[in-house]
């Protein structure tokens, strides 16, 4: 006989978090689309228009930089929320404590053995997802630093429209990337490959959420839209 347990509704993402999530999605897609253009302009402009009217590369760079700024700001916000969540603090899921490590591998095992035995509390974020999200933010920091190094190369005069402190800060915080990745070109390779890594990250992220939704039947995918998931009530 089947034992039926009622579904419960668990709120996982507040409206703010959901807005951040979707703003991030739009910004990352915009950054990838424009970044690919900057690296290798893949469409052509109309010959007949005079150059001053088109400004295609300039617009692409503008959108790219604004997308980058957006992601950076939301990341700061996310970092804050990681540390200060009122119900549970997500950063605690990143500590390699025994409980978290077990939970991490439990999720991985579930994924790779096609299982749905959920030997952990699925109502809040598991340590695998916490790790995977942290990875994205590390990737974003990497893109930020390599990207700003390329950017500061155009501010060689040491001045900028907002003052000399800006290029100074950029030099101090990003010049090391030149040494680490092998000069101006090395930084560009690194930034470009970082983009591919971000795309791969996104693909896997979406897949895992869909897979969970279908497999674990807790409606995980709904979190990003309605803010809640619907696991069955745990047995006491």
């Amino acid at each position: 006989m089947k034992t039926k347990r009622p579904f419960q509704r668990v709120e996982r993402m507040t409206p703010t978090m959901r807005v951040i999530h979707w703003v991030n999605v739009v910004a990352v897609v915009a950054a990838v689309v424009t970044g690919l253009y900057i690296a290798h302009p893949y469409y052509q402009t109309f010959m007949a228009d005079p150059a001053v009217d088109k400004y295609v590369m300039a617009w692409n760079r503008l959108v790219h930089l604004f997308a980058a700024i957006t992601v950076d700001i939301t990341s700061i916000w996310v970092a804050y929320m990681y540390a200060s969540g009122d119900r549970h603090k997500p950063w605690m899921k990143l500590i390699p404590s025994k409980e978290n490590v077990v939970e991490f591998f439990e999720v991985v095992l579930n994924i790779f053995t096609f299982n749905r035995r959920k030997k952990f509390d699925t109502t809040h974020m598991d340590s695998f997802n916490a790790f995977w999200f942290a990875l994205l933010h590390l990737l974003l920091v990497f893109m930020l630093l390599t990207g700003l190094q390329m950017y500061v190369q155009g501010l060689a005069s040491g001045e900028s429209s907002i003052g000399a402190w800006w290029p100074w800060i950029l030099h101090v915080s990003t010049d090391w990337t030149l040494t680490v990745f092998g000069g101006n070109m090395g930084v560009r390779y690194a930034h470009h490959l970082g983009m591919w890594a971000t795309v791969i990250w996104t693909m896997f992220h979406i897949y895992v959420q869909i897979w969970r939704t279908i497999f674990w039947q807790e409606g995980d995918i709904a979190i990003a839209f309605g803010g809640s998931k619907f696991p069955k009530k745990r047995r006491e």
């Binding site: 034992t3 690919l36 690296a39 302009p41 010959m47 150059a51 155009g154 290029p167 092998g182 591919w196």
Partner: protein
């Protein structure tokens, strides 16, 4: 541990590329006084060569006015206020007071060629002609033992005073003993180290002497490196580019004559007055770049309209050099001006990382384990495809196997 700490400190404190174009009146007033004093000292010294700049200039058809025009342009290039123009002019006249020893290692003599360019020389080249070139294998009359004797005498005589110009890379890998100079079979490395020991400063000219250049391109059979990897404890000035622009060589020597010091350098030891800006920052085709108007293939309509060469592999956006301002051959033209992209010749590893006729995304990446070369995008797409395949397999497997397992604690 301390070595590691040193490395980290070095990583974060290396001088950066930003250029201070205005250091304030007090600084320049002080510098002016120091330069005057220095020039006074030099004037009192006997000239090392009897060549008189103005006679040579006159023979080549330049009058005083041309010379002063050149002096003010050079003052601007050195990023000094225009009040320094008379000092720069005088420094040019006094350049024959500074002894120069010029050696060639693994090179093609291209920089010597650039310096000499006999067909219609410009003032830069003439000014370089009058430096007191104490030793230059390619240019001097004596050869063999006579030449060696002259070198020894020059080192002895100008100990601690001469500028050592180095052209060409230094082989330090396997087979370095095949590159020798002179009858005693001195290796390039030993030769350089011996001459650098007594030099006031070492000037590496051209991409090979600075970063290894073409001889250091993969697979770098001779283990070629630049001067700064071999010489330690001496002021080193790098003037990369292939060939180094004579205007920048003059700039460095003039700066030395004028102030007795080497110019301000960036993290790669390149003088900031010449390597402070990217080609792209001052390129005449920049408007086409911003507009998204690119040459798509050689000789197309875009090429005829001087469109941006980015898609043909121009590396101006990642190359620091001043050819877009100073140009070559008396400012007649420069690579992008004649319709081909920059190949980044003044950057380290330029032959492997910059000199290809496609944008960066299509660059060939060398796998760390050697052998196979992949373009940056192909590599990225490859990883993406691998992920997609992995996901596909997992999804298919989920569809087949997944249904069979159960949630723990629940019976199916």
């Amino acid at each position: 541990m301390s070595v590691k700490r040193e490395a980290v400190i070095k990583l974060f404190t290396a001088p950066n590329a930003s250029v201070q174009t205005n250091r304030g009146d007090a600084y320049y007033a002080d510098l002016y006084r120091r330069c005057e004093a220095r020039l006074g000292e030099l004037r009192a010294m006997a000239p090392k060569s009897r060549i008189n700049l103005h006679e040579v200039l006159q023979d080549d058809g330049f009058d005083r006015r041309d010379f002063m025009k050149w002096a003010s342009a050079t003052t601007a290039m050195l990023m000094l206020p225009s009040s320094f123009t008379p000092l720069v002019a005088e420094a040019a006249e006094l350049m024959n007071r500074v002894p120069v020893i010029w050696i060639e290692l693994q090179d093609c003599a291209g920089n010597s060629e650039a310096l000499l360019r006999s067909d219609g020389p410009k003032i830069d080249e003439i000014v370089l002609d009058i430096i007191s070139l104490e030793f230059h294998e390619t240019l001097m009359a004596p050869s063999g033992h006579q030449a060696e004797k002259q070198l020894e005498e020059a080192i002895e005589h100008f100990k601690g005073k001469y500028l050592l110009f180095v052209e060409g890379s230094i082989p330090v890998g396997e087979g370095r003993e095949w590159c020798t100079i002179g009858a005693s079979g001195e290796t390039f490395e030993d030769h350089l180290l011996r001459l650098a020991k007594d030099a006031a400063a070492v000037v590496a000219v051209g991409s090979c002497a600075t970063f290894g250049g073409v001889p250091a391109a993969a697979p770098n059979p001779t283990g070629a490196v630049g001067v700064m990897d071999v010489v330690k404890g001496k002021p080193i000035i790098n003037i990369p580019a292939c060939p180094a622009n004579p205007a920048n060589m003059v700039g460095v020597v003039l700066h030395f004559v004028l102030t007795g010091q080497i110019p301000e350098l960036d993290a790669l030891l390149r003088p900031k007055f010449a390597f402070g800006y990217r080609i792209h920052d001052n390129c005449e085709r920049r408007a086409h770049f911003d507009a998204g108007e690119f040459v798509e293939e050689w000789g197309d309509v875009g090429a005829q309209n001087n469109f941006c060469l980015y898609k043909m592999g121009c590396k101006g956006p990642m190359t620091f050099n001043n050819c877009s301002i100073v140009r070559y051959n008396e400012g007649v033209n420069w690579p992008i001006g004649v319709g081909r992209g920059c190949i980044g010749c003044s950057e380290p590893d330029f032959w492997d990382k910059y000199a290809y006729e496609r944008p960066m995304a299509d660059a060939k990446l060398k796998a760390p384990f050697g052998g196979v070369e992949k373009s940056v995008d192909e590599f990225g797409l490859g990883m993406l495809a691998a992920t997609a395949v992995g996901i596909g397999i997992h999804a298919a497997a989920s569809a087949v196997i997944g249904k069979k397992s159960t949630e723990c604690g629940e019976e199916s």
